[in-house]
Assembly symmetry: C2
Amino acid sequence: MKKIKRAIISLSDKENLSSILKALNKYNIEIISSGGTFKEIKKLKYKCTEVSDYTKFPEILDGRVKTLHPKIHAGILSKRKNRLHKKQLLKNKFDEIDLVIVNFYQFEKVLEGSKNRSKIIENIDVGGPAMVRAAAKNYKFVTVVSKVEQYTELINELNKNNGSTSLEFREKMSREAFSETAYYDAVVADFFNEISFNKFPDRKIFFANLVEKLRYGENPHQSGAIYSREKNLKIKQLGGKQLSYNNYNDIFSALIISKSLPKNTGTVIIKHSNPCGVSVNRDNIKSFKLALKCDPISAFGGIVACNFKINKKLAVELNKIFFEVIIGNNIDKDALKILKKRKNLRIIDAESFKLKNSQSINSNVNNYLVQTIDKNKFLNKNFKVVSKIKPNKKTFESLLFAFNICRYVKSNAIVLVNEDSTVGIGSGQPSRYDSCKIAIRKMKKFQSFYKNKKIVAASDAFFPFVDGIESLVNSGVSAVIQPSGSIRDKEIIKFANQTGTVLIFSKTRHFKH
Amino acid sequence: MKKIKRAIISLSDKENLSSILKALNKYNIEIISSGGTFKEIKKLKYKCTEVSDYTKFPEILDGRVKTLHPKIHAGILSKRKNRLHKKQLLKNKFDEIDLVIVNFYQFEKVLEGSKNRSKIIENIDVGGPAMVRAAAKNYKFVTVVSKVEQYTELINELNKNNGSTSLEFREKMSREAFSETAYYDAVVADFFNEISFNKFPDRKIFFANLVEKLRYGENPHQSGAIYSREKNLKIKQLGGKQLSYNNYNDIFSALIISKSLPKNTGTVIIKHSNPCGVSVNRDNIKSFKLALKCDPISAFGGIVACNFKINKKLAVELNKIFFEVIIGNNIDKDALKILKKRKNLRIIDAESFKLKNSQSINSNVNNYLVQTIDKNKFLNKNFKVVSKIKPNKKTFESLLFAFNICRYVKSNAIVLVNEDSTVGIGSGQPSRYDSCKIAIRKMKKFQSFYKNKKIVAASDAFFPFVDGIESLVNSGVSAVIQPSGSIRDKEIIKFANQTGTVLIFSKTRHFKH
């Protein structure tokens, strides 16, 4: 237990200051402060010594140098039981400072709201982190409070121990303080790396805020949590059980596709983080029904994401099937009422969710593969028609739709499309030919009359042999889009021409593992 | 351009100090220093003012308070063109400090080498980061050097500009300085979180060191890099082209399996980050051949990892197939010579690579799903034989082997095994039944006489219906291991008993997406 006699307070965010002052006053804790915090404390009518009076050194450089003074830092850093330290404090007429309450200049907030470089940089706090780090290092004797959210904890601790804090408490505060300083400098470093387009610095620091701890990870014997670079996830749960790790994973997989589709048309069904049905039909009911038809068996227990508002009529259709999660770009009242009839169904409004340029991390045994995401928008110049037969506009659109879906299907990926909907998806195979077979089997199983329909196919990477494209064409595919690059490209073009197949080569490949 | 007149130097790592001193001396730069650095500078016979002489304040608290003084920090932080700042410096008889050369107490290094809590905490640097952060903030005027690796850059910059530094240079140094401080505090925060078993703190900070920038990411239009929490990856490339993003991804996928297999027996073949063949035969040549036989077509262009030393005889076998990467637990000289005949083949010695307890990160649009890895060792009590027929020891071992591989195959995962080798792997499907079909098709395609062999199967999660297990049994599978949990578990047990199939329920599920 450590009795607290003296505190230094320096706050950028002055919220709830009075609650703290009341508690400190109750235990006769002497307060040192400066600048705006000092003024605020005086305004609230509490006793307080200004830092410059305390150190006998004026605040200078517009406040850049206030607390960076030996009297403050020795007061924080001295080992209370060390005789030499005690002697040196005494000799210099320094007092021990037992409690440091500091929150930093709000760099992250300023960064969000301003593009003024000078203003942003002025908001890098120097004095605050120095005090917090000193106090956190010396947690055996000193209590450090580094964010407003800790005030109640501090007050409870003081009340519990009659003005003292326990070592356990101080260690916890210290741990959280170093998280704050690390996070703070991670944001600053990220800012500098951003403005200088330095994607892969020597030291890479990813930082994020806890959104919630999850019941467990991918499996019940693993523990898990969801974090965000932002304050929240921009998705709103309107009903159902708590989201699980796998729910979140599938929700993001769904939204990344859904939000990339033409507005107000797209339905995506996800199972095991792979799409098992996608449609962009303008009729919302049809859009859902067509997405579902691609693989109604796999859809069972899956996740549906609509990039349009879910209305009552659609809700009735959705409720016919067992889904784990339903996501809408807004959900109207009547629809919500209907969906809520399924007690466990997680209902998500993702209207505020936006795709953002970000880096992806693939972690393996403490190693991280980091990359920019596959975000290229397809332009006409990305493609070259290499077959004699040219696609008409509608076929080209279907091919583009198929190719776009391909990039979200785990490799090797084969996507079969009729008009505006997938009719067969082959994923996650070590051989491209196998993915073709899977996609074809799905189509044959669930699409009656597929033989009378125009079927197009996309492949996320080139066909290494003719056999893959051959199996597609033999099953009724009349147009294929794929990246070029195989030593057998010519054979493949020849095969397309022999069979009257439209063949388009893309300049970009789209592996996803 | 900013002429440098005065520098402060405070180093924990004194490597290459003389090179810096020589350069500073050349441009008549005044030096301030303290403690061990001061002594070292004097020993090297350069002029230097001790901090305590400079500030007229003694170093106290065993060096805990040296540079935390207004004269130092105002000297660093003053805006050179600001008249008020100038006046205040003058009034206090403070001088401008233009260059800060600091490296921190080596917390990370001490942490690796010591378990003494006091010693570790004593090595949290307070004064150093305060100076570095002040200088980095004021980069418009001040140059900050925060690691030994930057010395040459500084010297070149000074030489180029006759003792001055450019704004561009100072900004770069500032950026790198904040990376250093963020990294430093991330390591400290991680230490505190570790010792208090706090897996999911409010602020999560992942930190890693750049190993190398890669030619590109998963696809050529993405940029990528590989980072490690450690100084290096513990894998040694002995030949072949530069490793790509996908190579690394596959190598880790391979090693995570390979290193979990019984020593000196395991061969793993990976394609698109999924295993397409695994064997643990004690005869190394057989081990490779059996792994290959599981899917020799998919193995083409894949990655082979052996958890044993690759000898000449095996090298000859390996060279018959086109692989992108070959990994050995050491590779003998003769074998290396043979493997090197394939010019582009990447050859990796992974003897030093060890599996480590770590957290996995799944990143999605600036959100991170974080979890502990699926590292449970299987114990006998994890399993329950639920069929009437009980497995003999050999069958149980095969089942356990199959179940172990399952956890590394993307869900839904079905793994068929004969004795000590996989003979069919179904992966990445939205429906478990489809994964069964894929695994069976592989077996039928590549395993002659499979009907005469004892085939066992593992599933990463429970069968929701009887159809999956039915398809396996109908294709010759005589023993199945799977997690329990389906509402149809009883039906499945009944089916097993009716068909004389061994059925084991596992307590743990092993999704991997």
